[in-house]
């Protein structure tokens, strides 16, 4: 019965064998997970965000626990775009769908990273991480200012030859506006949400728990926020959406598809259980089979909400 369900989806020109990917920053460069799951059976994975040069991350403490969530402030730690292409990509088995994530502090640097990743045969598409603080604008995230976001997506679009996704920041008042900006500048799809800006305090030391002070909140606690934003964005644009936020089961993933997502990314749950993403994919397929749906994609946007 399961074999009859068509799991394939198209995410802005990226052909996925199923709608379950793993989120950037939670899946390393892929090979770390090889002992725990068959990477080729994932819909795909988004690699750790890359900058032009290798970067060292923040001082510790970098993570903290919060109710049904965690905070992190790792910053830009990564091997750099060239080492990714030359060393990390070739280490992956054939048949893995790789999306490269781009993260920088200035627009021309974003564009340069996109350019270096364009045309690399193993890369199925790019995801521009718009949650980086723009230093010249006093640290506001690119994704928090529609003008900055528009410039960023236009520059990335100009530099990227293949499918281009934009990963949106949730730290905005109107996610629909940001989604429309990306669509208007030629993005092929959207990924949302990134981590929610947050803080935790140690009352004994009277200091923030993270050395960086602020961090990003992720995990099951943010899932309802993410669902709301995916639903709002999906009504604002025609380009496909990849839903992210606290997914740890097929049930969670189904909720995102119902709210209009074409695909999902499993994030923080990869840390807690490195095999979970495949179980989400299998559970999604089984759910579609139980519902008598020919395609998993038939779930997408099928929310029964008359006030929409």
């Amino acid at each position: 019965m399961n074999a009859a369900v068509d799991e394939r989806v198209d995410l802005g020109g990226i052909a996925l064998r199923n709608p379950v990917l793993t989120a950037s920053g939670t899946f390393g460069y892929g090979t770390e997970f090889a002992p725990f799951l068959d990477l080729t059976r994932l819909g795909g994975f988004v690699a750790k965000s890359l900058t032009l040069e290798p970067r060292v991350g923040n001082p510790p403490p970098r993570i903290a626990e919060a109710p049904s969530a965690m905070l992190n402030a790792i910053s830009l730690e990564n091997v750099g775009v060239d080492a990714f292409v030359e060393e990390k990509l070739p280490a992956l088995p054939d048949g893995v769908t790789v999306i490269a994530s781009v993260f920088e502090t200035e627009i021309d640097r974003y564009a340069e990273v996109c350019k270096r990743l364009s045309g690399v045969p193993r890369i199925a598409g790019l995801e521009v991480n718009a949650s980086c603080p723009h230093v010249k604008s006093g640290g506001i995230e690119f994704g928090q200012d529609p003008k900055l976001l528009s410039q960023l997506v236009a520059a990335a679009r100009g530099a990227a030859s293949g499918p281009l996704l934009v990963k949106l920041s949730p730290n905005v008042t109107d996610i629909a506006e940001m989604a429309r900006v990306c669509e208007g500048e030629g993005a092929d799809g959207l990924s949302l949400i990134n981590a929610v800006q947050a803080m935790e305090i140690d009352i004994e030391t009277r200091r923030p728990v993270l050395a960086n002070g602020l961090g990003g909140l992720s995990g099951p606690a943010i899932r309802p926020i993410a669902l709301r934003m995916v639903w709002q964005a999906s009504r604002a644009v025609a380009i496909p959406i990849c839903g992210i936020g606290g997914i740890r089961s097929a049930e969670d993933a189904i909720k995102f598809l119902l709210c209009g997502a074409r695909a999902v990314q499993v994030g923080t749950s990869n840390y807690l259980d490195p095999g979970v993403a495949l179980e989400v994919a299998e559970g999604l397929r089984d759910h579609a089979a139980r519902q008598g749906l020919p395609r998993v994609a038939d779930l997408c946007g099928s929310l029964d909400f008359p006030h929409a």
Binding site: P59, P60, S68, M70, S249, E251, D252, L272, D273, P274
Partner: protein, 277 residues
Amino acid sequence: MASAPAWGVAPAPLRAEVEVASNRDEGAGNHRIALRVPGFPGFAPGHFAMLSPGALAAAERTDPLLPRPMALYRASGRGGDALVEVLYKVTGRGTALLADTLPGQRVRFLGPLGVAWPEPAPGETAVLVGGGTGIASLYELAARLEGGDVRVLLGARSARDLMGRDDFASLGVPLEIATEDGSEGVTGLVTALLDPVLAGAAAVRVYACGPTPMMRACAARAAAGGRSCFVSLENNMACGFGVCLGCAVPVTRGGYALVCREGPVFDAASIGWEGLP
């Protein structure tokens, strides 16, 4: 130590949902859990596992969210019969939840993980220094070095707090104890026991695990005498296998090392002690 066992190569980690065989309160907040781990690939001294009460892929419990890194204490049996012991102290909500886990219930297990203690070089006296919960990461090392040139120094607040004391006592290794309240052994810190050992033996390798100030003191004493010292660091981790990048510690080569992947065992001279939180 020419006959030191080879344990350098780490087996591939096992991801499994395992059954609690027993889970006992040993007093002073110390607990001992035994897990039935079918297919356990074995471990080397110093390896750890990520433990989280509850079933794999079960969405019913989301809080506390993160699994806890725990030193692997001892294992017996092979294949389907493997029983893996972990000693832990209840220090927060995660360990309290683990302590509430009953025989027959399930625990998520990921391990063995990390870099093991190095074997002593031929001619070296292995000096194991354990403080508080750090004692748990030294038992297997002591057991494998039994019969060789090894000494064990353990310290805790009081006799009641001495984790695994009887297990160490039943090994055939010289054991010295220090307690802060003087209820057993020498009164004071375990580092006081280290000084005469460093002064006496010709070639020494120190293996230290305990509170950061204790490990820092061991490292400083060893360095002052030109002795080799290895430490096993503790840190918060979300994953345990090198992807969350949460367990970074400053290192003298510049930048950071991940406790989960490059450690938890490090050459003490490689750690940027002044930058540790």
